[in-house]
Amino acid sequence: MDKKSYRSETCVQRSRRHFLSHLGGLAALSTPFTSFTNSLLANAEELKKQHKSAILLWMGGGPSTMDIWDLKPGQATGGPFQQISTSVDGIAISEHMPMTAKQMHHLAIVRSMSTREADHQRGRYYMHTGFVPNPNVEHPGYGSLIAHELATAVPSLEIPPFVSVGGGSVGPGFLGTTWAPFVVSSQGDVKNLESSVSQERLVSRLQMLAAIENRFIQERRGQLPEDHREVVGKSVQLMSSSQLAAFQVSEEPASVQERYGETDFGRGCLMARRLVEVGVPFVEVNLGGWDNHSNIFGTLADQRLPNLDRAMSALIADLADRGILDTTAVIWMGEFGRTPTINGNGGRDHWARSWSAVVGGAGFNRGVVVGETSADGREVASEPYSSQDLMTSVLKALDISLETTFRAKNGRPMKIANGGQVIPGLFS
């Protein structure tokens, strides 16, 4: 166990009370410290049951969904993989996803995703935000947006409301730095948490810091100085939080760790469950390596899919067993799919026109397939759905108002999720 990463709970709690008694007079850094104090008063257990969360399993690079969720066996485009039946009659998925197949009754596949961004950077932005990149405004991604909408329901939360395991997400855009992803590795090691001085000295350092920060803010130099003060407050809160234990996957029984898989993605999924349990509204877990321009089938069968299958199935089953799947939306997607045509190097290239995403939990219908593609997978053969539509549906599943509108400083109103339409098949 990494001693630097966190301290034992009792010690932390005792020192926190001590710490707080010193911070009482620190009106200067008021906002963050007020919420800090309030959080102690809240009944954490009670709130835990009410809060909603979302977990995004982000497949960086653009996974070949027609080799995973929407197979075309026998077609020239189909590749060598066979389908297997699942826990839901009539739904079949890839033979390399046997454990997830047993959890199908918790999930819904959207087989009619159709987008236009087939460049990694643009696709990542578009699928995370619901907007195509625009030089004049940066839009918030799923994590920042959902954390922004749901964090107030969890006043007891002391760790950041948007955690990105393994990076690869997009930023908070116009919502500002305070909603930026908190990026950790799957080892959960949060660096630099230990102060090298006594708490008494730390308090006087923070008071001095507050004097300098506040003076600079009062000089009206824009948003960044204010954001800095707020993030300082959150960092102080994090340094003394017992909730940091949620990052420590190694505290789980060995059998649970094994169930998720001893991989970065497995540990990331397990960490996501632990974070959701303490109230974190949004966790993104990154699994890269889907940009398979060559030798796609060997790579998928031997590496990517076994890793994905183990961790994803363990996460879904675990959330369900613990009764928190009903309040936790799970989203599986990448920036796009891959070409039905298999290229000369035995790979598939970027393809946005017809691909699949998967959702589950929260308010979603379970055990269903929405939409379909043509026999060879080149076209969507039903109503096509966009990033906006998927995002709107996720928000609905989390009971976030679809009427939410953001107003940029210039007064331009911007509808949440770019005004997408709810995907009807995902709700009853």
Partner: protein
Amino acid sequence: MIRKYPRKYGGLTSRVEGRLYSASMVLFVFLYHAMPLYADNSSALPQVAFIDSQIEAAWADANIEPVEQATDLEWCRRVYLDLIGRIPAVDEVLQYKNDSSRNKQSVLIDRLLGAEYSYEYAKHWSNVWTTILVGRDTDNRMIDRDGMRKYLQSAWESNIPYDQFVEELLTATGDNATREESTLFNGATNFLSGKLADGGLQATAKTAQIFLGLQVQCTQCHNHPFNSGVKQNQFWELNAFFRQTRALRRFDGGRRVAWIELVDEDFAGQGGDPNEAEIFYELRNGLVKVAYPVFVDGTEISRSGLLPGVLDDGTPYGVNRRRELATLIRSNPLFPKAVVNRVWAYFLGYGFIAPIDDFGAHNPPTHPALLDGLSQRFAEYSYDLKSLMRWIVLSRPYSLSSRMKARSTTDAPDSGEQPHFSRFYVRQMQPEQLYDSLLVATEADHSEAAGRQDRWLSQFVTAFGTDEGDSSTTFNGTIPQILMLFNGDLIQAATSLDQDGFLDQVVAANQTNRDKINALYVAALARWPSSSELRYANHVLLARKGQVKEALQDVWWALLNSNEFILNH
């Protein structure tokens, strides 16, 4: 004080060129003061006057009043950060403060761009350009970052003209890393060494993006969706210029790649006829088309894939495609514009075009005449980057305060409005600037700093996991960065009381506590504390019950952690 790169001021320097330089400055200052009709020094340069008139005209059109000038010392801190990548040390602040000459701004700029700071200037711009050319990923075996830096350091120390710089990057051959007993080292090869996979897709995209401001990466598969100026065939025709180039993995006995050798070789073409060396690419509908080297402006070069040579009968044949490409890029009108826009955005926070590398009819510039005029002057000035920087930092928009007149303003590019440059936009220091500024603050030894800097930076870099090797940095004002500055190794070194460190010198100085606090403020923020800040500092002194060392350590920690320290303002 221990400094590896001595800086001497307060009189004539010991070096001959320094003496000449200072002597000519004295003469200049004398003449300058003898000419009473001359206005302030910045308008002495016509290029500066041009920038000011263009920006002021745009203010008038938009009915915007600029804010007041930044204070002397705010401006001083800014130019040290922007030109040489670190904050000024205490003696440097005091020297500027005590300079009473009317053209003190020009004097400082000339010094920062002159021989005295040549090493630090080159080191800073080598960091900036390493990120532009090869990104921040430190794991790529096909790139030797030290080799890249060595090349950039020497190129920028010699103030290489920008057009020659780009030509060297585009045409480089040789080893990408230094080795004993080898003379083949050419660090410039690192620009292309990691971009040649899959027929050079990255080389094509990055060359167009960095040097021409054209985003062509998506046209690999289809015509550009909204820039009608870029078609799919153009991507592959540009790509064809890189087909003679190969990055050869070289091994030092083991299986690990030891270095990369970039070479030009004859290209037989995918059809097998080297005199018509074509490549094939696929349209979305599956049709296969053919491409030969044709530049984005439509200029065709020889289709031969053979490198230049001479037949027995004396007839020359063949062509070096990369050399031809470098020549075509240098003479393209977008070439100076792309870099002027980049440099402007670096100093003023926003480009005339945003994103800075997305030129085209779909994305018109905010100040077209200024972009054109400045680009033209830059080209006329032999692509001299130091001149371009001098014009920009002496201009009025760069000299403005970052304080707004009211809580809100119509000049708000951070909320999607077009920038008017009527105030200085506050921004985060780059990680390298912070690192070097903390070194100034610690008076630490600079040796081996580059390697340590890479390791330190790598904790903030996360890769996106695509074949293109993109990455992002969490060094963006978020919690990990704050925690690093609260408790990390670097801050512990900066606030340590080790002998001869900066803090130790302040503690040991024969001064009042108040003067010591002042010294800390000048060192971190290039200003003196306000009366209320002094009161807080006194609280800290009281709280430490006479432990002055510890109290100063606490104040110093707070200063280095403040928004005012970490922001360029």
